[in-house]
Symmetry: C2
Subunit: 590 residues, 2 copies
């Protein structure tokens, strides 16, 4: 079936059931960033493979609402599909709602699969469309026309050894129930897979890059039910869970159990729960809409998590050192491309005994490709790396136990003055953030301002956040904290691991990004209160050969030298003599 | 009647009508910062004169919930009143709600005057107390026991010459209606007095410091009604308003008109509208809760407003110059106190032909008093200024036309190393903010981070925001923008006037704050977008005699010298030769 034929089939079904517009979101019922194949609905319908976007179909128009990251890709992939690209003005906003409101006559019916829309978004759509008395309707139009629609993944999931989690399931449950008490709720239903993975100390392989398992949980003051498909857990793990007080139910039963609730209070996270659940609740259930408390509990890493993450950083740093040594020694001698470099760094990571997979698709951009912050090379775009200019590599791994995310930009030969200046400014921004001291309670947006200030003074900026939280052998993008220009609900608290990754991108020429992960730690307590600072946990040398030293403050140069020295000392024991010697050269003070 | 007797009377009435708890807020029906005497309910009931706080009364307990700014004052003023001070943990939060929830049995009845509570707060109370099935009730308990309760002020109000407003009423109405269309509302009711003053180009004298007039407005697509008491406007002004399309109604009629609305959509600003209006609306009225569009329109000063504000700054700078010259020449020679200094600076301002009153009660703190950021001297606290240490003066004026707000900290003689260091750090923070360049769309919290960073590195912080918006011959505190650590709804846009006022406070020793007002202006447009910067509009020299130059960056010293040079040049034409000579000395480059 071509995309045109699928579109016709969708429109025919819309006619048959009397629907004026149909919305296909990019999410799954767990509101995941990466979704199982079964929920790659946009790809199925239109051919677009980007991870964020929304299809909206009427009888007259079919469009993909996507943001600037995907403009080029969407234009290519949508050709001949019958869908047009509608460029989002503001990232992450449902601008199609306004379009529907304008285009459709009053009393139209708009449908979507309530499972695939978040509570917040479902309510926003309902509210916005109520002005013109639109009705909304729950409808899965795709399953019928999707031949061999993939089933849910049936990979095995495993319980992690509790000693490697630093906190056992029972203790996590105690913490969660305390938060439920504070929120005055009887019941809490969790849908978000990383929160479930953390709570149950469970990991799996159901989606790409994120080691999560498809499941739900319903928690009360004295019961905890895990909804998971048969056969996902080994009999031993099932026994373990039962011993710890967990009840196992079938994955599909969550819906029926939600419908069965009555005369109670339920806590639901509007961004991390599907709209369907909201519509299934009895009117006798009082709903508290708050962030799932696990989001916050999970973000504060415990001592074991921190210790293991430090060890993962050593493995990762060794892999990166070997890769960059290999790259320097082979560039201009053998053919190296963006794709082969990505493959090579993966191979070096795989040499690590605790390696468990890459944590996201590597961004390996050479020359002008590095100016696309979210670029991932494919067979068509794949550039050869030449012994000149800058190469940007943003990559990461999962380890037993810990998750990494690191970006380095390195010169492959001669570089321009502009490349050196941009490299130095980005490094300066990263050091401003990394070396900041700040009062307890400070939110990421203030640190974001501190990072960007010197770039701004030069009339330079970057169009992405400065940093995001990172999970513990879990999602590489984890909330609730972030460092960026937007409003933030929480502070950057002690125990959080966050990235700092400023960049400068000059389309058609080059791009620079430098990224470390930092752990928030106490700094000092003065009369003015408790101050925090960052400890950088990423361990990989930062190239100094193209630093314009006079653009850095003396204390920034001290920071850089101390960092590289620490990298050398921490990685040396795991390197061969030859490798250590090479790294010593890279880490020499400037 | 003593406060104890009043409390007994309130409790007796509570018993009589079956109320378990009574809340007395500090606001008026317009949600004002400064309220007419009629609404000084907390002062009437308890004797506490602070401008923010909440009384909560049950049969067993009577308390004032107030924040740290008022701890000392409340302890003094509440003595013997029957009220206890309850210290707020977090400023501006209704922590008494949690207390009521804990203290009272289920199904209790909590009452307050619905006119004196904002919509947002009223709804929050209702929602929070619904868990224990509390009922809330609209009740004014005070009027009956308040002998000779002051009537509403009947001072005359005036329409400003439209040429001095830069935009006439009709044109403002066009802008507002456009915003109402965007918000898809039929009707908008405005209660906030500064928004009304801006919209109608009207000013008055109904509360201290803010030149506003008690009124309401109801705006539809083709009508605009001003609700104002008879006799507040001259017959000429009434005619003018009528010519411009305005309908005049009696102030009290707003309630009846709100109750009469049916089958329409109304826009109400939850923070700037009383809860009573919400409860008076028919169920056929659809309510849109959004910020009153005037809040934003008003914040972007037009060319005339900017031009006139610049002129006001010259008058204000001349007054400040004369005051500080007088202070320097007389300190140690005649008796000068905090109060007499406040009086003196007011007198110097009054010499200006366009002076229209002070814009807030001066904060004049000598020595340890300067360490209290919100200190206002009174007869009891009044300190004599001695020829040593630091004197902090935070004051401002209204002019025809423009409003000023300025803080200077000056040495009166010998100062300690710590005083010099703190002074220099505060100056550095102010210059970091004032000299910042930032992309369009930047919110105040990022600039806040940039201002504070150097203090934070030293383990120093201040417990107030860095800056607030300032009105045009209007309230000295004006939204929606601010520079501070909290989430912010809007950016610091071109045309906004905002204060930058960092500080360091060392209780028992000294305090430093330096404050200028800045106008947001375009800086440059680069490949990376549109950048903005600040133009400092305040014109008063910054003392350089206690600056520790090596603590400032070379570009900060350049900024300081250029600023003082500009101050000298702009003020000189209005000064006597003697005064100009003195100022030249103060403005000499370092």
């Amino acid at each position: 079936m071509t995309y045109q034929e699928k579109l016709s089939a969708i429109r025919a079904k819309m006619m048959a059931v009397g629907i004026d517009a149909y919305i296909i979101p990019s999410s799954d019922p767990h509101m995941s960033e990466y979704v199982p194949d079964r929920y790659k609905c946009i790809q199925f319908a239109s051919g677009f493979t980007g991870s964020a976007g929304t299809l909206v179909i009427t009888q007259k128009f079919a469009g993909l609402w996507a943001d600037f990251r995907y403009f080029e890709q969407a234009n290519q992939q949508l050709e001949g599909s019958g869908y047009e690209l509608v460029k989002l003005k503001v990232q992450h906003t449902p601008e199609y709602i306004g379009w529907l409101d304008e285009q459709l006559p009053a009393r139209s019916i708009v449908a979507f699969d309530y499972q695939l829309m978040s509570m917040v978004l479902g309510e926003e759509i309902k509210q916005a469309l109520s002005v013109k008395q639109f009705a909304i309707q729950d409808l899965d139009l795709l399953t019928e026309i999707w031949e061999n629609r993939p089933a849910l993944p049936n990979d095995l999931a495993t319980l992690l050894p509790e000693e490697d989690c630093g906190q056992d399931f029972k203790s996590k449950l105690v913490d969660l129930r305390l938060e439920m008490q504070k929120a005055k709720t009887d019941i809490h239903v969790i849908s978000s897979l990383d929160d479930l993975a953390w709570l149950f100390n469970i990991r799996g392989n159901d989606v790409s890059y994120n080691p999560v398992v498809l499941c739900y949980a319903l928690i009360t003051a004295d019961e905890v039910a895990l909804y998971i498909n048969d056969g996902k857990l080994s009999p031993d793990d099932l026994n373990l869970l039962a011993e710890r007080g967990g009840t196992i139910k079938h994955y599909q039963n969550i819906s029926a159990d939600i419908q069965g609730l009555a005369n109670c209070t339920i806590l639901l996270d509007g961004k991390r729960t599907c709209y369907k659940f909201l519509t299934q609740l009895s009117s006798t259930v009082r709903i508290i809409k708050e962030t799932n408390p696990v989001v916050f509990l999970k973000s504060i890493k415990n001592e074991i998590e921190i210790k293991n993450t430090r060890a993962a950083m050593v493995s990762d740093g060794i892999a990166l050192t070997r890769f960059f040594k290999w790259l320097e020694e082979n560039i201009g001698k053998i053919e190296i491309t963006e794709l082969s470099a990505s493959q090579k760094v993966k191979e070096f990571r795989e040499l690590g005994k605790t390696f468990a997979g890459i944590s996201f698709a590597s961004i390996a951009g050479y020359g002008p490709h590095a100016a696309l912050p979210h670029y991932c090379p494919d067979e068509k775009s794949n550039l050869e790396l030449l012994p000149k200019g800058l190469f940007l590599l943003d990559s990461g791994g999962h380890y037993f136990y810990g998750t990494t995310d690191i970006t380095r930009t390195v010169p492959l030969g001669e570089t321009t003055e502009e490349e050196k200046m941009d490299y130095t400014l980005v490094l300066s921004a990263m050091i401003f953030g990394s070396a900041a001291k700040f009062p307890k309670g400070t939110r990421g947006y203030q640190i974001d301002g501190i990072c960007r200030q010197q770039l701004w003074q030069q009339g330079i900026n970057y169009g992405h956040g400065t940093g995001h939280g990172v999970g513990y052998y879990l999602n590489v993008h984890e909330g609730p904290q972030n460092i960026g220009p937007s409003n933030a609900a929480v502070a950057v608290d002690p125990g959080m691991i966050t990235s700092i990754e400023p960049g400068i991108y000059r389309p058609g020429r080059h791009g620079v990004r430098i990224e470390n992960l930092v752990l928030t730690v106490p700094a000092e307590t003065t009369y003015f209160g408790e101050f925090l600072q960052f400890e950088t946990v990423t361990l990989a040398y930062i190239d100094t050969s193209i630093v314009v030293a006079e653009w850095l403050l003396p204390e920034q140069i001290n920071w850089l030298n101390a960092y590289n020295q620490m990298v050398y000392e921490r990685l040396k024991p795991g390197l061969s003599e030859d490798e250590a010697l090479w790294l010593a050269g890279k880490c020499k003070a400037i």
